[in-house]
């Protein structure tokens, strides 16, 4: 060994290495893996890691976007460019029956809307595609029931999670054995924190949807949430439409994703803002607060 050579990995390198190991392991051991792609920053990082894991080969599995039909228009634009530029394969799945039936969060409530357009659609998409493993970009630091999630999360044939009966997971040896119809959800970003994601995006120059950056946007303030105004947004009687500099910390459906006041227009500014922000990122998702343990419940039913 020469004295100027380094033999320890930095935090980011260690995380990247672990994720690449997981992604390759899945590609090697499963018959038909798929990578869930939600267009958000975590998905961007996950897809970037997949590209790195298989370079110079093409990513050997498709990306799957479970589309609720009410994502931000900026997200669809970004998605199509990202896929094309990186020569990835994309499968888009929508619960057309529910969308045709007019499912929306205003009439059904957010819980039922999510069940139909996200959980149901995801399960249908996985069954229709015959996928035996599905990558998700969830991190353990996001939410308390996710802190208990394995990297390989076993799901029965209905996609359900049984938190009390998870397979032990030791070292970096993963058990991907399943019977027909069962599947594994794989979380290669499990050990990343929100700060790691942003630092990595900055370090690797990974493109993300412009909605993450502050801009003057038309919004309504309702129950402490800042809701962006789009043509489909239902305006209540006493709603006031205002313009403000704001950005989005996480991206979901535009009906249910709140913005935060911000002037951060560059990555370092976002990171700076985050580190002084004392609110966890999912607070802007209306859906998490519907009931006690709502995430745990959704995961049990098959959500990521």
């Amino acid at each position: 060994m020469k004295s100027d050579e380094r033999y320890t990995l930095t935090n980011l390198q260690a995380l990247e290495t672990e994720s690449i190991h997981i992604i390759r392991e899945v590609a090697a051991e499963f018959e038909k893996p798929v990578m869930l792609y939600s267009v958000g920053k975590d998905s961007s990082v996950m897809a970037h890691l997949a590209i790195k894991a298989f370079y110079p080969e093409r990513v050997p599995f498709p990306l799957l976007h479970v589309d609720t039909g009410c994502k931000f228009p900026e997200m669809y634009r970004f998605r199509d460019e990202f896929i094309q530029k990186n020569k990835l394969r994309l499968v888009v799945f929508r619960n057309e029956k529910a969308l045709f039936g007019g499912v929306n969060p205003f009439d059904l409530g957010t819980v039922k809307c999510c069940t139909e357009l996200k959980t149901r659609a995801l399960l249908d998409a996985l069954i229709e595609g015959g996928y035996d493993a599905a990558f998700g970009g969830a991190r353990r630091d996001e939410e308390k029931s996710r802190a208990k999630e394995r990297i390989y999360s076993f799901r029965d044939k209905y996609g359900q999670w049984d938190p009390k009966n998870q397979r032990p997971e030791l070292w970096d040896i993963y058990n991907g054995k399943i019977n027909k119809g069962e599947s594994i959800r794989v979380f290669p970003l499990s050990n990343w924190t929100e700060l790691d994601i942003w630092t990595y995006i900055h370090h690797e120059n990974i493109p993300v949807v412009p909605l993450y950056f502050a801009q003057n946007r038309k919004v309504i303030e309702r129950n402490g949430q800042i809701i962006p105004v789009y043509p489909e947004t239902r305006i209540h009687e006493n709603d006031q439409i205002t313009e403000m500099m704001c950005r989005f910390r996480t991206l979901g459906c535009h009906f249910c994703t709140g913005a935060v006041r911000s002037t951060a227009v560059t990555l370092p500014e976002i990171i700076e803002e985050m580190m002084v922000a004392r609110h966890s990122e999912r607070i802007t998702r209306v859906i998490d607060h519907d009931q006690d343990s709502s995430m745990e419940q959704k995961k049990r039913e098959g959500y990521f």
Binding site: L12, S145, P168, I173, K177, T199, H279
Partner: protein, 539 residues
Amino acid sequence: MTTTESLLKRNEQNDLLRFSTAGSVDDGKSTLIGRLLYDSKSIFEDQLEAIKHYSSSNRDMELDYSLLTDGLKSEREQGITIDVAYRYFSTPKRRFIIADTPGHEQYTRNMATGCSTSSLALILIDATKGILTQTKRHTFISSLFGIRHLIVAINKMDLVDFSEEVFSAIADDYRAFSDKLPVESIQFIPLSALRGDNVINQSDRMPWYHGPSLLDYLESVNISTWRNLIDFRFPIQYVNRGGRERGMRGYCGTIASGTIRPGEVITVLPSGKESRVKKIIVCEGELAYAYSPQAVTIYLEDELDISRGDMIVRKKNLPTISQSIESNLVWMDTIPLALKKYYLFKHTTHTVRGEVEDISYRLDPEDLHRKPAGTLHLNEIGRVTIRLMTPVYADTYEHNRRTGCFILIDPVTYHTVAAGMITRCRGREEDHSFRLPGAETHWVVGQPGSGRSMVEIKAAEGRGCIYLDDVVLKQGICSDLGGPDQKGAWLERVAHICRASNNSGVSVVIESAYFPDERVIEVVGKKNLNVTGTPNLLT
């Protein structure tokens, strides 16, 4: 440099310490973790609000810190930790991942899970209760999983009037127990998680204690990592067929141990074929050198037939090619261990079939005594011998964490039923490419004395050999075996002598009235066994 830039640099470059926590019920483990997260400002305000609300309405407390860590609904309802939860926090000096594991005995497997990726264990003792059987269990499992650095946090000091005597007595008791274990460092810290004494800051209520606070120690402790940078082991994970050079195949994997450079001569297992490293690539380009645990793609000078599960190593530094593994085994399934049943043995990127041949003993984690055992039940730990259908390329766990560990998977339920740490790899038996050449077993069926000529032939070839006949065997090695009903045991014993000698490069001539049975052929190997004898006896 702006604050953000230095923050970015820090988050990018700081090192990472993974540690596991272990504690008994009610010793305040969750409270301590909650306090570490809270006081290091790793809890967000909305999470805190939700917990304060729950504390006041369900626990009649202002803030129950343990709610910060108990994530599952059933855990909050029962007030205990069931599963491993991973916690993340960082300080300007280090980034930490805590594997927060349950104290209840029935969740020992979850604690084992947490220990497997940690390099330090934080063990909690309730000062009002002293050392409990579970304290010992936790200490033992941590050490079993190769954790060599322990922090023993003696908690609830506020309930014993911050007494130095109580602290010292517990520390002495603990030392008496842990002296038997291979531990490099133990730091005893008296604290009160509930009141915050010695968690982040030095407490002025225990002036007799001059050591660091818990966080100070975590930030500064020098952990000799379990990384092995000497023995190059590269288990093939995935074969990459992409790239401009047509037909060139890249071998993707995570370097399990050691370092490698382009130009080095390597050997591929199991074929034994040699080649040179042409280049090592990652997405950014070619590397001048690579080290464990980097995830890389290696190209070789020659096109060899290599697939997942094979291993690239250095020619003069081979792992043991073994089909007989001795290991410590932690049983993790509700269905107990069954002898002579096939399990899937998953080791690095290699999955083979194997059966547990023998349980030497069960270890009682409370007093470390060895007890006889016919099986292992959920959460039990034992020393076993596993016979594999196909060889694996292994090292001992002590020597090499990544090539010294494995899991067992039930072939029917597909549950992960056990975690194993290799203590010894016996072997090289079926692997002809690595056997010392020329050694074989000559089995002469006939009357005593008729095999002597074979020994003479061998001697003329300039090779020594071992000569055994029924008389010699009966006098010594098989003197305890009597009549024809013990023929099987007799033959098996002889067969093992032949195999061991042949593997060491020594030929054996056996002269016996018995014809070698199926078992002898299996043990010695068909290729090594040369049977001669008078025709009437052979039929």
